[in-house]
């Protein structure tokens, strides 16, 4: 026989497994409890006529129990699905719990309100993007750090960078770094080049990817991939252009760091960069004189011609007998040109001298 008071007496004063006592009060863990507090009026075990709202997957159900079914625990709780609309749900609650004690109905409606609120909030939160914290097993962390150390040692980064920079210098990518004596340097670099070729077979092929390798020359594709892969060394990849002799000697490696298209016939490209002296000077610094003819536009050509003539004049003056006159000529021009260009001129004339002497 169901006697609520007896049940409550036993539960409250002896032991209820659903009761959780904490600092602020007694709470009930029973899932059918409306308020969640351990109370005489809120205890689902001690009230034979009771109702709750529970939610499954975002849908709210009204659960009711009556004393008529108290002897059939299996069929004790009757469940009614509540619509998602708050007002309609309230109406349905009113309909089902019409003659029930007002307190309980009130508590149920309060619970419904709270649950709808937190359902809305949950939906909002799930739409928001939160950072997900993932753990990494310690074994992996250690392994990665070990591998990183070994890779660092194998990389020999400083050496590689220095080599790369030297090769770019040899290529003539740097037009006007003025902290070294150009003449001596060029000589040394030529010597270096010869030595390096002997050693090249033993070097590990470093695949390098240089910025701005998008020269749209005839052999665009070949140029682009020049730096990549052991294939280059393996297949003895030669740059097909006859002009770039030095590339033939160093097949596997670098490209001039020229990061703008060097269209051979197109003067328009050059016009854009007329202001930059860089283009012209790249050509000049190369000992391979042939390159000059191809990659220049009209105005640059004229410029060069001017310097060419100038060089001839200075060469003329640099002969033994005309030393004095040569110096006068030099200072004469000095007044009209910048110092730097004069130095360049001087070196240029020296080059011309050299070349002449070579030809002779």
């Amino acid at each position: 026989m169901q006697n609520d008071d007896v049940i409550w007496d036993v539960i409250r004063h002896h032991h209820c497994s659903y009761m959780a006592k904490i600092q602020t009060g007694n709470f009930c863990r029973n899932p059918y409890n409306v308020t969640g507090i351990c109370n005489r009026s809120s205890c689902p075990l001690a009230n034979s006529r009771y109702a709750t709202i529970r939610d499954h997957d975002g849908i709210f159900y009204l659960y009711m129990k009556t004393i008529e079914r108290a002897h059939m625990p299996n069929k004790l709780w009757e469940r009614v699905k509540l619509p998602k609309n708050y007002m309609k749900a309230l109406e349905i609650i009113d309909k089902h719990l019409e003659y029930w004690p007002k307190l309980l109905v009130h508590k149920i409606k309060q619970r419904l309100t709270k649950m709808t609120q937190y359902r809305i909030r949950m939906v909002k939160l799930s739409k928001k993007v939160r950072e997900k914290i993932m753990t990494v097993p310690r074994k992996e962390v250690k392994r990665e750090s070990r591998r990183e150390e070994k890779a660092l040692r194998a990389a020999q980064i400083e050496n590689v960078i220095e080599k790369e920079l030297l090769e770019r210098l040899i290529k003539g990518v740097y037009p006007d770094i003025c902290n070294y004596d150009e003449e001596i340097f060029n000589k040394l670099l030529d010597k270096n080049k010869v030595e390096e070729q002997e050693e090249e077979e033993e070097e590990e092929a470093e695949v390098e990817y240089v910025e701005g390798d998008y020269e749209i020359e005839e052999e665009e594709e070949l140029e682009d991939i020049e730096d990549m892969g052991d294939f280059l060394k393996a297949n003895n990849f030669d740059d097909i252009e006859g002009d770039e002799d030095d590339l033939e000697e160093q097949p596997a490696k670098k490209k001039a760091y020229v990061s703008y298209p060097l269209k051979q016939d197109d003067g328009t490209e050059k016009v854009r960069r007329k202001g930059k002296k860089v283009v012209v000077e790249v050509e000049r610094d190369e000992d391979m004189g042939n390159r000059q003819h191809n990659a220049m536009s009209n105005c640059a050509h004229q410029k060069l011609r001017f310097w060419h003539v100038f060089g001839r004049i200075s060469r003329f003056f640099s002969r033994q007998s005309y030393q004095f006159e040569g110096i006068f000529f030099f200072f004469f021009c000095f007044r009209f040109f910048l110092c730097r260009t004069m130095i360049d001129l001087w070196f240029y004339s020296q080059e011309m001298l050299q070349r002449d002497s070579l030809l002779l």
Binding site: A151, L152, D176, I177, L188, E211, L222, E226, G229
Partner: protein, 352 residues
């Protein structure tokens, strides 16, 4: 121990040996006693030391023989015997079919149609937005300051609580070309998210071994010239793509007068970042110091041209975790490459 002795005694009884040297390493009747099986510590260490000594002696003999042979060959004017190449992990790397080849038309076509081609062909100047994760602390701000000095035309915006997708939109409106998000974990910058814009790929890197400029001895101070870029060892298609992505952060026309070089060196899937200032110098090297016998060559000094580097700026390593096609969208985006634990099983397999 006693059993082994007895067994050995029984065996050797045939040979007629009374006392067998237990330290005998030569396999007698295919019985090899490992030094590690001897239980007595003193004996064991003695045996082991002897073993090591023998090995070392053998090695020295081999080296000497090799040197002598090569010298002889040189003197005779013949070719010296083949120098042995040490086996390295890079030598024995597993064959990867995605390695870029020099004659790959598809690659160039792909490059042209790339998301980065606009920046790399200098149609647009790179403009970088740097931001952080929601909680930034400790080394994060210092690292970001240094990043700002490394990458020209970079700006730092505070994160606030904006969603990353909103930030991407905002950046697109302001015409940025890429976003860098520095993620901090446990008060250390932990990950780098590189998002290309307008619809570029998203690369997620794990950052490690960060050394700030002030912690580097004899560091230099970078100037504001545009740096040169050196990208090493990006061999495979994936590496190529990542390399181009990194390249699109920097302006394509470097200022050589600044003599600044930024290096991204890939070694075994770890991308090492270095930032140097360089100088070319003439170095006098004394030739023939190795060969003490030939005194004639000792006086000769050879001049070599070298490059010297001074490190400035931060130093860190990156490891690619995932590359996603399109801007940041972890749920709906298509991942081109994701690192899985499965990929670590072989020590000779690398992907970049």
């Amino acid at each position: 121990m006693a059993k082994e002795k007895k067994r050995k005694a029984a065996e050797e009884a045939v040979d007629g040996d009374d006392y067998i040297e237990r330290e005998d390493k030569k396999p007698k009747k295919q019985k090899l006693i490992l030094a590690s099986q001897i239980k007595n510590k003193e004996k064991r260490s003695a045996v082991y030391a002897k073993l090591k000594h023998e090995k070392r002696v053998e090695k020295h003999k081999k080296i000497k023989a090799r040197d002598a042979a090569s010298k002889q060959a040189l003197e005779l004017g013949e070719e010296p015997p083949e120098k042995m190449v040490p086996r390295t992990i890079e030598n024995t790397r597993e064959l990867d079919e995605t390695v870029c080849r020099p004659d790959d038309e598809e690659l160039f076509a792909g490059n042209d149609a790339d998301e980065f081609s606009a920046v790399l062909k200098q149609q647009t100047a790179p403009k970088v937005l740097i931001t952080t994760c929601r909680f930034n602390s400790s080394r994060g701000p210092a690292f970001i300051k240094e990043l700002l000095s490394v990458i020209p035309n970079a700006q730092y915006y505070k994160r606030g609580t904006y969603e990353l997708k909103k930030i991407v939109e905002y950046a697109k409106n302001k015409e940025f070309t890429s976003i860098i998000v520095v993620h901090t974990n446990r008060r250390e910058p932990d990950a780098l998210l590189l998002i290309g814009l307008p619809d570029g790929p998203t690369a997620h890197f794990r950052l490690s071994n960060l050394v700030l400029r002030k912690d580097i001895k004899n560091h230099g101070n970078p100037t504001s010239h545009e740096p040169e870029l050196v990208l090493n060892n990006f061999t495979t298609r994936l590496g190529h793509r990542v390399g181009r992505m990194i390249q699109s952060l920097f302006p394509q026309v470097p200022n050589f007068r600044g003599r600044r070089v930024v290096t991204f060196h890939n070694q075994r899937d770890f991308i090492f970042f270095r930032h140097h200032r360089y100088v070319f110098e003439v170095k006098e090297k004394k030739e023939g110091l190795k060969d003490k016998k030939s005194k004639a060559s000792q006086g000769k000094t050879e001049k070599k041209a070298i490059a010297r580097l001074q490190e400035c700026g931060p130093r860190f390593t990156l490891k690619l975790v995932s590359l996603q096609h399109g801007t940041f969208d972890t749920k709906g985006g298509e991942f081109e490459w994701v690192h899985k634990a499965d990929m670590d099983t072989s020590r000779r397999r690398f992907f970049i």
